[in-house]
Symmetry: C2
DNA sequence: CTAATATTCAATTGATCGCTTGAATACTAT
DNA sequence: ATAGTATTCAAGCGATCAATTGAATATTAG
């Protein structure tokens, strides 16, 4: 076979991965799976899809090698196949935000005036946390925190933040994070903390991006 | 509008970038454009597509913000929109090679027994070149070298390698590179040099990956 | 065993995509 | 102006895709 045809076949095979990413529904499924494995009906509920539709999209992602499945009892749990997949998802978002005006506008609308809160970069947080200068706050639900979180982070789910404020020392800056750049919980947390006199910022990105970058994480017990 | 619908729209807009990458022909076009800007008919000839077809694919890439066009005389020159696009292209290849067995097999078939030549990583080459331990050899055609090349690289196009061997000092190791991981010129060069007694290896990836990683490049004159 | 639950499968519909063909447009050289 | 070249446009065809619907399969609880 000529090298031209071989190269064409090769790129056509690589393109299948991009095709699998070429659907808003599948990108959303991947975002949720980046938090940890999830069952089909959980993913269907989170994305607002029918179960049958979610199942078919998950199978498309599996055929492209982007997710893996594990069966336990009557449930099937899907998860991203590896950190490289999360990084690819992230890279796609970055390019889309920087190259498509429509995406930039949608992000601005979505974040509203919250966009103004300038985020802390992962490397910066890592350095400041090492020196004990900041409290790292995970505002996701308890189960997600327990499955995996940034090393040394404290967990106060966003709906309990007001009642458990006492756990956050006032003198240190708080850096909050949640599920990712399109998750609003850390924005809310920062706003609430600032209103009550804390110095607070949010982490750029969220938990999946941190983990995919190979930065330190830990699980509870 | 509810945040769910906004998020759905946002991801649908991001997915358009992935859709643009979801075609082997467009991935090949991007590979060629990563070397530098190219006219429509040059790209059509390189990929073996009809001119009309290439034009349409290029417009699809432009709608997705991945390439930009410049008109000069009666020709239109297309180029990748930025280094982030090259990095995304690269990330896609990495995921496809690591996650799809079919892609791994096609790569092996394509590279044949050449796959055995273990490549030099970019960071390693940078360090060794700084100490003057290696000769960096660009085996691409002269025009491509002149447009842009790794800083300090020597240019001997692959078809003139035999006749200009004298330009390569025998005692230093040679590291050869070309257009990218699916370009065979550097493999040939390494094989030829080794046969004649040189110590030679090839650079992992190629020129576009080096440039997109922000490593030092320069142009002639 | 039976009922209930979770997931997958199969068939259908409308929409979109990829490629071809042939014509239209834009620019250059003479 | 005219001819030649480069690119884009428009129409058409077959293939693929996304979502819905309803049924089939697999597993657990009682």
């Amino acid at each position: 076979m000529s090298t031209e045809t071989m190269k064409r076949e090769l790129y056509q095979a690589i393109a299948k991965v991009a095709q699998a990413l070429g659907s808003g529904n599948r990108l959303q499924l991947l975002e949720f799976m980046a938090q940890g494995e999830r069952s089909v009906d959980a993913l269907a509920a989170m994305t607002g899809m029918t179960v049958a539709n979610a199942s078919q999209h998950l199978q498309a992602l599996r055929r492209a090698g982007l997710v893996a499945a594990r069966k336990d009892g009557q449930r099937v749990y899907y998860r991203v196949a590896g950190d490289d997949v999360v990084r690819l998802h992230h890279g796609l978002r970055v390019v889309a935000e920087s190259r498509l005006a429509e995406v930039r506008q949608l992000v601005n609308e979505f974040l509203g005036d919250r966009g103004g809160l300038e985020p802390v970069l992962a490397q910066e947080l890592l350095a400041r946390a090492k020196k004990g200068l900041v409290t790292v706050l995970d505002v996701r639900p308890r189960e997600e925190y327990e499955a995996c979180h940034l090393r040394g982070a404290v967990n106060i789910p966003i709906d309990r933040l007001e009642s458990e404020l006492a756990r956050l020392p006032r003198k240190r800056e708080v850096v909050a994070y949640c599920r990712g750049p399109y998750c609003l919980m850390s924005f809310e947390a920062v706003a609430a903390l600032r209103q009550r006199g804390w110095k607070a910022r949010r982490l750029e990105g969220g938990f999946p991006e941190w983990k995919a970058a190979g930065l330190p994480v830990e699980a509870s017990s």
